[in-house]
Amino acid sequence: MAYPYRHDKETRVLSECFGDPAARTVAGWKAVGGYGGIARALEIGREATIEDVKASGLRGRGGAGFPTGLKWSFMPKTAARPHYLLCNADESEPGTFKDREIIRWTPHQLIEGCLVGSYAIGASHCYIYLRGEFFETTNVLARALEEAYAEGLVGSDILGSGVDIDITLHVGAGAYICGEETGLMSSLEGRRGEPRIKPPFPAAVGAFGMPSTINNVETLAAAAHIARHGGEWYRQWGTERSPGTKLFCVSGHVNKPGNYEFPLGFPLMELIEDVCGGIPAGNALKAVIPGGSSVPIMDAADCRGCTLCYEGVEAAGSMLGCASVIVMDETSDIVKQVRRMAHFYAHESCGQCTPCREGTTWATRILQRIEDGRGTEDDLDTLVQISEQMTGTTICVLSDSLAMPIISSIEKFREDYLALIRRGERVGAA
């Protein structure tokens, strides 16, 4: 059975087994070469594994795009204290739905990635932080993990190598901020999920005060393949600065939304018009949010010629983030959607930093006022001013994440705001 939607142009590395329940078992995963990555890593050693990942140019898939091999190399080389690998499966960036699909279709892909990562950084315990809503996902992963333990792939003396790596599933309880790496550590330790000031960086003082590395699900899944095939193999796809393949989560106004895997650098318009079957009812494209709700909004002109790699989206005035492409057609009500996003950030702000706690709340109220037809033109200046004060002034980037869509939407869709403010006219219905 075809996974919801497939496309001939896809390059499927991570998503090859999506839609195939057989790959959820150890035998099924081994049949497609699975667990070859950890076997090869154990053979070539820690340093060589990190070098492989460095050579691959793999960049963190959780949104920041930090080079993974470099991150791993920050970990102390001696094991005087316990090291921890934390896998971030707290997927909750609006527009993003790739980690859930990776885990529920290929749980062993993630387990193997966790083993490779743990081995490379010298961790004997890996915690997978799953968001609390992922009941089915957690159950699928739990069964896979039990089987992996039974097969001697996880636990003590994995694959007869003398290396011990334990994996524990940690289920969260509903907080977007726990997807921020230091917020995740706080939450794992049984605290409120409040982010911490860096430095110290997690590689020095992380979970439980010990050296820790936090990687996204997709990053670790890719690392499993890189460990199996080597770093150069991964560079056959993508661009110089953005090597490899990436899952693109396309949602919103397209005929065939879903996860599609392409080499980085794939043209945005081709993704929307060809791969996803275009926009329903032949409507015109109005805007795209290319990397999850936390990045600047692009208008239709920005989209033309934009390629989906870190540098390509940057050149178009936004950020690739976690490649969650939210497509909005001409019927979209930008003001309403920005207000909805603001509401989300106000709800999810942990409240530690004043610019974020107050800024997200007041921005939501002002946007609501504009949406209700009670706004003034001064409100737009106030929103921009608040947003600027929310940028770079807090411990984590949650408040920046709201500032970017607000500033970019006012810049690019000022007419939509003005139509509401001056004439009480709503532009778009959705």
Binding site: T96, F97, V171, S187, S251, G252, G258, R340, F344
Partner: protein, 220 residues
Amino acid sequence: MSEVRFRNPGWAGNTGEFDLNEADVRGTGYVGERALDGGHPSVSPSLPYMFVKKDPDAPLFEGPYRERFDKIRSRYPTARAALLPALNLAQELRGHISPETMDEVAGLLGLSDAYVRGVATFYTMYNKRPVGRFLIQVCTNISCNLCGADEVLAAFLEHTGTELGQTSSDGNFTVVEAECLAACGFPTCVQINSRYFEDVSADDVPAVLDRLKRELNRSF
């Protein structure tokens, strides 16, 4: 009543329908029968079997739940780290986390009552007050919103006869708005207890509720 089709079939999607039975909602339909003690210690952190009957006065913790609690403790270097899984476990048993439950969990882990209240109130998945047998969480964030989530939410409120966040008079349904559930490609996503319903349109809502009601008749 017309059948509602799945477009994103998962473990239990072979039926291709929103056809719930107890095994589905307890998760056994996805992953095989699981031991009540949680199975292997690595997965001891609570798996919220949301549809088991709740008892607000259930003891913390006895029998298989005590086993799971002990396993949870064994997976972390500190007692504090077991707090979230322990609260998950308490909610699984009792259905919601009352201030008294928070204090009891604090006692079990050697933490102060105030500390546990601070943590428990930080997280949205801990129900601070009782909810209906079915907690219906409709995602209204951007991707679902673009595809009509507001209408889906309105339909759930209309057909359950409830106000947002209130429980229906028969104690069956509580409808709330949820933030992004990470199923943006399959809008609108609705989480009902521990189960995701994807591709739900406003027209599907009566069929979904009908299924839930039949499930109630089977189990209660």
